[in-house]
Symmetry: C2
Subunit: 366 residues, 2 copies
């Protein structure tokens, strides 16, 4: 018997926990002190449905850290090596958040809601405490809070059709990582083209608890003929698509370069960011990188450490069996001292092909 | 079927996860991004055993936030309204950590390990990010980290006997919340008289991963005739004892006064603490308090909100059925506007007696 998860106020329920329960959620994880479904029918059945139809996901755990006040933009910029000075209202930017050593503290989407109002839509770490600590120490005029705003994701190839039926066809014009304020039952909600899958779709930032279930019901009512189903972030789909999970694939001991996120840094920007000085230096000092590894069958080892010889090790950060490509996919942190001389490795009795992330179609189908 | 919890690197395993699995852990929770067992045989069977014998608990999730360097003591003091200036080396102090508004961010044990080295043995929030943000903003000369130090708790009335058999009889002289550095297989470990039960016992801070399983095995080998068993923090026992859980019973929207922790503040201390100015003002402005409520049977309502009339509400933060006292125990945040005029309340068809925390024996046995 696999262990269950015990409920408590500390591990928060969401506005849709009852809907998840009613749909028979089989597996949970905990994310930002909140329940996040991880499996309904099965990881594999959930995967095939996601890639063919459309799903509604309770991702309330993607909490918003809100920065509000005269120094909101300054604090937002301090927190990330990405240049936020060019952001327009309602534009989101994927913005790794780093400390002064260049270590990754989170990888949120930073959204400029208004001139003095930012949301960091966060991955799993209490970045509110980091933001509040900086605001306190630097004496900034900014209020840091976590408002009750719960994203609901609509993901899958039919997501445009479904969301257009509920919010109107203007959602189809929303560009990737941008959003619009659109009304639902009289309340304006931020609707963004984003989400933790490569199937396309939207995240609706539900800012009125009373409308959480009505919105859920409206989406399911409008999507019957689209075969809409309840779902959740899917390990197979996200690994095939090369999407990283903070805490699993990267943490504060890693830099954005090491995790393949260098293109999201603006090393030459003339902005006040805590991590930019360290990252500028690190750009030429990198010694390891997160890589994809493809195994023809699943390694038999339980260890997440891969012995590479000559005292070198790799660390498996995430792994899953892909039913589509009939391969075992792994994200592995590997030293250049190995990858500059080898394109394969062996682990648990199986040979793996080292390949850049995100995986190319050629590599997956090889 | 109750949902299970999915493993990932983000939800960290501990050095003893295999031991928990082998013992048939039935329920987990997640605490500081780490697995924490919550149930073995059953919450009730675990409870009776804990109160009569001795248990070994994997509480590796009580992570250490380490402050090291010239400004370590200054940063430690900034973080808490408790006067740390009098702490002696190897002394721990229960030290609520508060922001400048007086809101509680965590309730760690602050341990002065050496003159310039502090550990905050934390409850469930990323207080490392708060400490690091403050250090960055104030420009402090201090290194903030989370070393690989995993507490192993030995709790229960026979804990002194068991720990003395492994570490020597000098453990019996350790005073409450103090500790000694004691050798185990050649490695000095911090052994403190502390733990999240009222049955007495120790927490051993395992600072050498190689010794984690040997220590576990030594405790079980030495305790056979003491009926030693695997265990975990127990909801019945800790609520009967009035122990609070950060995130459940209190959070950053509460002050220490509201949670009955006023006696741990040093309002008159001449120390540099971020929260003391706000808390000095708040001392006379409190309008609500966490109280105990005792019900003769379990309320039938699923809601954690208690309607008190006149627009007043109470919030149930934790609750459990006590098999010993045959009462339903609740910790409830209640407005003075109600408690100053009433000593009972009604919820889910059952009348409850309002009583101070921790519960008195008289109240429990009434």
């Amino acid at each position: 018997m696999r262990p269950t998860i015990i409920p408590s106020r500390r591990v928060r329920r969401t506005h849709w926990t009852e809907q998840n329960t009613a749909a028979g959620v089989k597996t949970y994880t905990v994310y930002n002190h909140m329940l996040l479904p991880a499996e309904f029918e099965s990881i594999e059945a959930d995967y095939w449905h996601l890639c063919e139809h459309v799903q509604v996901w309770d991702v309330a755990c993607e909490r918003q850290v809100q920065l509000k006040g005269r120094d909101a933009a300054r604090l937002a910029q301090l927190m990330t090596p990405r240049d936020l000075s060019t952001a327009k209202p309602l534009q989101g930017k994927y913005a790794p958040t780093c400390n002064a050593q260049g270590g990754i503290l989170n990888d949120p989407i930073a959204i400029k809601v208004e001139e003095d109002l930012w949301w960091f839509s966060i991955a799993d770490s209490d970045i509110k405490l980091w933001a509040a600590g900086l605001a306190q120490g630097y004496g900034l005029d900014v209020d840091v809070s976590e408002p009750d705003i719960s994203p609901l994701a609509v993901q899958g190839p039919k997501a445009d059709e479904l969301v257009a039926r509920v919010f109107g066809s203007e959602v189809c014009d929303i560009r990737f990582f941008w959003g619009k304020m659109l009304p639902f039952q009289g309340s304006d909600m931020y609707v963004a083209r984003s989400g933790w899958s490569k199937q396309g779709g939207f995240e609706i930032y539900v800012n009125d608890a009373k409308l959480a279930v009505p919105l859920w019901e409206a989406l399911f009512a409008a999507g019957k003929d689209l075969n809409v189903r309840i779902g959740c972030p899917n390990q197979i789909e996200r690994m095939e698509g090369g999407l990283l999970s903070y805490g699993s694939d990267m943490d504060d001991q890693d830099t954005p370069f090491e995790c393949g996120l260098g293109s999201y840094l603006d090393l030459n920007a003339d902005v006040e960011s805590l991590s930019l000085p360290a990252l500028r230096a690190h750009a030429t000092q990198q010694t390891r990188q997160l890589q994809g590894v493809l195994f023809a069958s699943s390694p038999t080892s339980d260890s997440t450490w891969i012995e590479l010889g000559d005292g070198l090790q790799g660390e498996i950060r995430s792994q899953v069996w892909s039913p589509r490509y009939q391969k075992h996919l792994a994200f592995v942190m590997l030293p250049f001292a190995y990858t500059h001389r080898h394109s394969t490795l062996e682990h648990g009795g199986v040979q793996g092909q080292i390949t850049p992330l995100p995986f190319s179609q050629e590599a997956l189908q090889a």
